[in-house]
């Protein structure tokens, strides 16, 4: 029963338009994608699992998937390392500063990935700030090639997707009953113990939510992977684009897309299941 909400009959009418839209323009296409991936040749003559066999049979292909998922994982871990302290700092700040901080955190999310990636090109380029600084300090003579390295992609992605980690953690931290940390203090626990024993465990649902968002975004970060990774490092997103738009091999491209989707979905599901178990404790 819903209080204040529309009756069931009305609810159906309200939700129908968006449902129809999603059926026609999200599910049907994705279903079609799955279907196309089940053709054996680019000309779409016979059906079969040849594309999947081709993918998993070639170490080059599997490696691309592994690189993509590993990139996403490393990015997530780095994002936790820099994002969590920022979220905690937010909770320590006075109210006015919190509003400013929130806008600073949200602004990157409102700007394009291209702009944010471009910033890293400026920073890591041969004429960029890192090379200038190192040369001024006298640590190197000639500029280093920092772009187009796997590390650069991880660092750039972690910074670019950081807000996606910070926001859910802020929500989780601010939802913790202040009486809990105060009770911990009066019982004799210092700041560090209160943090490890009370604050951190209770913020885990938010942390997991942030991890999911960052992982999914990093795996699909076409722009950053390509601009910073360069041609030398191939990831799934650019592979999909290449196969579809440049080689016109739609079945294979579709296969790649399905594999990427399923991989991300698998990770999301697993983490969600873990998240529900931990959520039970928080809402005690």
């Amino acid at each position: 029963m819903t209080r204040g909400g529309p009756r069931l009959a009305e609810a159906w009418q309200l939700v129908l338009p968006l449902t129809l839209f999603f059926v026609v323009f999200v599910f049907a296409p994705l279903g079609l994608l799955g279907l196309v991936s089940a053709y054996n040749e680019p000309e779409l003559r016979t059906m079969g699992l040849a594309q999947y066999a081709k993918f998993f049979g070639d170490a080059f292909n599997v490696n691309i998937l592994v690189q993509t998922l590993s990139l996403a994982l490393k990015t997530t871990l780095l994002a936790i390392a820099i994002g969590y302290p920022l979220a905690y700092l937010y909770t320590l700040a006075p109210r006015r500063l919190q509003r400013v901080l929130l806008l600073v955190i949200v602004l990157p999310l409102l700007t394009s990935a291209v702009v944010r990636t471009f910033a890293w090109i400026v920073i890591l380029g041969r004429l960029g700030i890192v090379n200038s600084a190192l040369q001024t300090l006298g640590w190197i003579d000639a500029p280093l090639t920092l772009l187009y390295t796997p590390t650069a992609v991880v660092v750039a992605l972690a910074q670019i997707e950081m807000p996606l980690m910070v926001l859910p953690v802020i929500t989780a931290l601010t939802n913790i009953d202040p009486n809990l940390t105060q009770a911990s203090a009066v019982l004799g626990a210092g700041r560090w113990r209160t943090f490890w024993a009370v604050t951190l465990p209770l913020s885990i649902p938010g942390l997991l939510a942030g991890c999911l968002l960052v992982f999914a975004a990093a795996a699909s970060a076409f722009v950053t992977q390509t601009l910073i990774g360069g041609g030398r490092h191939m990831f799934m997103p650019v592979y999909i684009y290449q196969q579809a738009i440049q080689v016109y091999n739609y079945p294979f491209a579709a296969t790649l897309a399905v594999i990427l989707l399923v991989s991300v979905l698998a990770v999301v599901t697993v983490v969600n299941v873990l998240g529900h178990r931990s959520r039970g404790f928080v809402h005690g």
């Binding site: 009953d177 009486n179 809990l180 105060q182 009770a183 911990s184 203090a185 009066v186 019982l187 004799g188 626990a189 210092g190 113990r193 024993a197 009370v198 465990p201 209770l202 039970g280 404790f281 928080v282 809402h283 005690g284």
Partner: protein
């Protein structure tokens, strides 16, 4: 260990939450801070616990001025209104928390936990989680957790507010028993006056950041120091009039008509405009209509073991009188003319108007 507050003041924004409060609590006593919401009682409690820093004045626990100590070093224990049990820890882990925080080993802590749980009669629920417990059980765990670290003073913030009526009485008895058994100085905050009257050794009635009176429950009830205390605790009739000295005492000419004779007038004994505070049970109805104030019965309200009569005096002033159920041969009804006289020996406070 006793607790002393010396001229404590706390300013919050532009308002004075606590205004120059001085209080001295004897070791082992259970005192209650009683007052309406916003009177500063919870603020005071938090100042003692160290969760809030006062703007002026000193807080002393035992013979130590504790102002410079953070909350984890004051040796106080606090139980919050919502119990604040750690939801992700079992009952046992909750109770052990303070001990582990102070460096106790697992075995030593486990022993103490068992002892504490037995003290609050929760030993069978040690492996449960807080969300599986009822309100009363959660409160007992909260108490056990706080008492496990042997605090010098126990602070309770509206502990029974979230419990329903029957459970409340049981928990009040339980807490009083524990407090006596452990002989621990306890300061309790509540807005429920019947709770305060039944549990406290002494009550500090607070209003707008100040303590209006700090005395035993009997004194608070029988000899309130200010009109606020008189009105806040118990039901009262506030009657205005003129005080004049008379043979064998004083006479108060009431604005509403009639007069009262008093043997003594306190705290105000000077002639002039005064306010007299008479409790409903200090009046008795004289059905013969000879002695006392002339009044008309407006309503008769049966109230369990006694009856409340709502009367009105000649000028319309309302008067509440309570009488026992039995004993009155003829019970007055609405519209009847009666006379209300003071019960002999009644102590009636007189305040300057």
């Amino acid at each position: 260990m006793g607790v002393t507050l010396d001229r404590v003041t706390h300013r919050y924004g532009g308002t004075l939450a606590v205004d120059d409060v001085s209080l001295s609590v004897q070791p082992g006593a259970l005192i209650v801070l009683l007052g309406p919401s916003g009177c500063g009682k919870t603020t005071l409690l938090r100042i003692i616990a160290g969760l809030l820093g006062q703007s002026a004045g000193r807080a002393v626990i035992g013979d130590q001025v504790v102002d410079a100590l953070p909350p984890n070093e004051r040796g106080a224990g606090i139980v919050f209104q919502n119990y604040a049990l750690f939801p992700h820890m079992t009952v046992a882990a909750n109770v052990a928390y303070g001990l582990r925080a102070r460096g106790a080993g697992r075995a030593a802590a486990a022993d103490a936990v068992e002892r504490m749980l037995r003290l609050v009669r929760m030993e069978t629920l040690a492996t449960r989680y807080p969300r599986e417990l009822s309100g009363g059980q959660q409160q007992r765990v909260a108490l056990a957790r706080t008492l496990a670290v042997s605090p010098r003073v126990l602070l309770l913030d509206e502990p029974f507010g979230a419990l329903d009526k029957n459970l409340r009485l049981d928990m009040q008895i339980e807490v009083k028993r524990l407090q006596r058994e452990l002989d621990i100085t306890t300061i309790m905050v509540t807005h429920d006056q019947s709770e305060a009257l039944s549990m406290a050794d002494r009550i500090a009635v607070m209003n707008r950041g100040r303590i209006e009176q700090f005395a035993t429950p009997e004194e608070i009830y029988d000899a309130p120091a200010t009109p606020f205390v008189a009105a806040f605790v118990g039901t009262t009739n506030l009657l205005r009039g003129r005080l004049a000295a008379a043979r064998e005492g004083f006479r108060v000419e009431l604005d509403g008509g009639g007069a009262l004779w008093l043997r003594e007038a306190a705290p105000c004994a000077g002639e002039g405009e005064v306010m007299v505070v008479v409790r409903p049970e200090q009046f008795r109805l004289d059905p013969e209509g000879v002695e006392g104030l002339a009044a008309t019965v407006r309503m008769v309200l049966p109230h369990g073991p006694f009856i409340i009569y709502e009367l009105s005096l000649a000028d319309g002033t309302a008067l509440k009188v309570t009488a026992g159920r039995g004993g009155v041969a003829h019970r007055p009804g609405p519209g009847d003319a009666v006379r209300a006289a003071l019960v002999p020996g009644a102590r009636v406070p007189v305040f300057p108007a």
